[in-house]
Amino acid sequence: MPRYLEHASEPSGWQRMRLWGFGRAFAMVYGLLVAATIMVVYLCSVLGWLPHDPDAMDLQSINTLPSAAHWLGTDFVGRDLLARLMLGTKAFFLPGLLSIGVCLIGGALLGVLAGFWPERFSTPLGLLLQLLESLPKLVLILLVVALFRPSIYIVLLVVGLTNIPAAAELLRARISVLRRKSYIEAAIALGLPTWRVIGKHVLWLHGRGLFLVQATIGMAEAILIETSLSYLGFGVQEPTPSWGNMVALGKDYFFRGELWISTLPALAILITILGFHVLGDALLARLEERSAA
């Protein structure tokens, strides 16, 4: 039973809406839609199915608003914004997946170690977590940028690595609860091999939801970091489009009142990050509901 049902006060309109589950269902649908769209757009941009050549300049029509010829308008040298926006997904999609993959694999490994053998691995994990929580991520990335001049793949790999302790800690906390449950004890007592208990009963049956939530948050973060870094000029470089450098390039026109060039990629960032955030929230809420039941 949701907690607010126990309240002495009447549930508010907002709470009642949550009670119906409308908000959550909407969030789930919206989030899934965003994730699916990003995937489709990425595939299109890989296959080259773009409405226009993203590098073709059309000096006859610069800084135009959306029209029939250019559905989302053109930038300051007349390049089609829709094509560039679609191509911009390339900047973060695969690197983001890499970041998520590294984080989840490392997190699973470390989390299982710390969960099943807490006396040996719990303290180092805690220290590592506190260490990384003390460092602002972008500062750390700038240091990496200064030292290695890495590509965006390496940068997001580093992001994935720095996320490992947090993911591991979530899993460790879950396992420490699970280990006291009788069916895990029973599984161990029945002589199931340890890897099977870990693989099936812990990681698959209980970890996957957790991982899914981590993955959505990881993708949102990957987009945030890629666009911020590209905005700062250390990520994806012109003429390769990234939503971050597209915002930066529209700056001069923005201050003159031609808001569209910068605003369009910013909206794309907003819609996408918001999508992954609400998807993560909805999944988490579902997960908590289920584990409470």
Partner: protein, 315 residues
């Protein structure tokens, strides 16, 4: 009196822990630096023009022929004297550069953090108490939008609105005149609302408040008609807000790098940006250490305040 003593003990404990963690940060940074590509000697001399013997001598003078632990020890010793080396770009000591910029970033990030917490508290309290459902719904959903918007675009928008509508611009910060203070709030608002943590902070606070509101002692307080806030503020506000302050300050500092770039705010973030362009890693190392110091300071405050409020945490 006993509260004071307890708080002091917690403060010292937390400070010691933070010192240990900062030591760990230096170790990690040294490890990262020692994996950096390129020969460190090449920073000082033209390697090609020297013979092997001369190179070996320079290496010896710089201490590069010693083992890694010995080099770390020597480095740490210099660090403990406040010597972070000199900037490769300006030739000035890193500490000087950090003093010049650090307080500005602290001011920006600190004010922005307070704004974030204020906004989230408003939204969460209205929502959890069930008052003004429309307003709280607006605040909450606006928070979601804010946390997805890229902070650099939000900065552009703020500059645009401020220049065209309110004519309060465009002054570069750091220029020492009085008009800078009227301009101060723009980046603070942008960073405070746009650092990407607003929705998460709101959600956390709301969940926390709902939990506390469902406690028996709150029901009792309500039943006897006491002022609710008097019973609520410790568990409902002080505890989560200090936790959030400590946990979210790294995100605000990350956001500050971008916001300083947008607004030309001559703080540590811009310093770090410049240093990353110039591969000026002594500066970046300093920035890493100072930001870690800021974060740990927030944790020390959190530890002390929480123990002052809740003695059970002292154990």
């Amino acid at each position: 009196m006993i509260v004071l003593k307890r708080t002091l003990i917690a403060f010292v404990k937390e400070a010691l822990r933070s010192a240990a963690l900062l030591l760990l940060v230096t170790l990690a940074m040294f490890a990262v630096l020692s994996t950096a590509p390129g020969d460190p000697v090449s920073l000082f001399v033209n390697v090609q023009s020297l013979s092997a013997d001369e190179l070996a001598e320079i290496r010896h003078e710089l201490g590069l022929d010693r083992s890694l632990p010995a080099r770390y020890g020597a480095w740490l010793l210099r660090l403990s004297h406040g010597d972070l080396g000199t900037s490769l770009r300006s030739g000035q000591p890193v500490t000087v550069e950090l003093w010049r910029t650090g307080w500005r970033t602290l001011l920006l990030a600190g004010s922005a953090m307070l704004l974030t917490l204020f906004y989230a508290t408003m939204a969460a309290a209205l929502s959890a108490l069930g008052r003004r459902p429309i307003l709280s719904a607006i605040l909450t959903s606006f928070g979601y939008v804010l946390s997805g918007l890229p902070v650099f675009w939000l900065g552009y928008l703020a500059i645009y609105i401020a220049t065209t509508r309110f004519k309060v611009f465009p002054v570069m910060m750091g220029v020492s005149d009085t008009s800078t203070w009227s301009y101060f709030w723009v980046p603070v608002v942008v960073l405070g609302l746009g650092n990407g943590t607003v929705s998460e902070v709101t959600r956390y606070l709301r969940t926390h408040l709902s939990t506390v509101l469902a406690e028996d002692y709150i029901r009792t307080a309500r039943a006897k008609g006491a002022v609710l806030l008097k019973h609520l503020y410790k568990d409902g506000f002080v505890m989560p807000l200090t936790s959030l302050l400590a946990n979210k300050i790294p995100y605000v500092l990350s956001g500050a790098i971008v916001v300083e770039q947008v607004f030309n705010w001559p703080g540590m973030g811009r310093l770090a940006w410049q240093a990353a362009s110039d591969r000026d890693y002594p500066i970046l190392l300093g920035v890493v250490l100072v930001s870690a110091l800021f974060v740990r300071a927030a944790h020390v405050i959190k530890g002390a305040v929480q123990v002052a409020v809740n003695p059970q945490l002292a154990e």
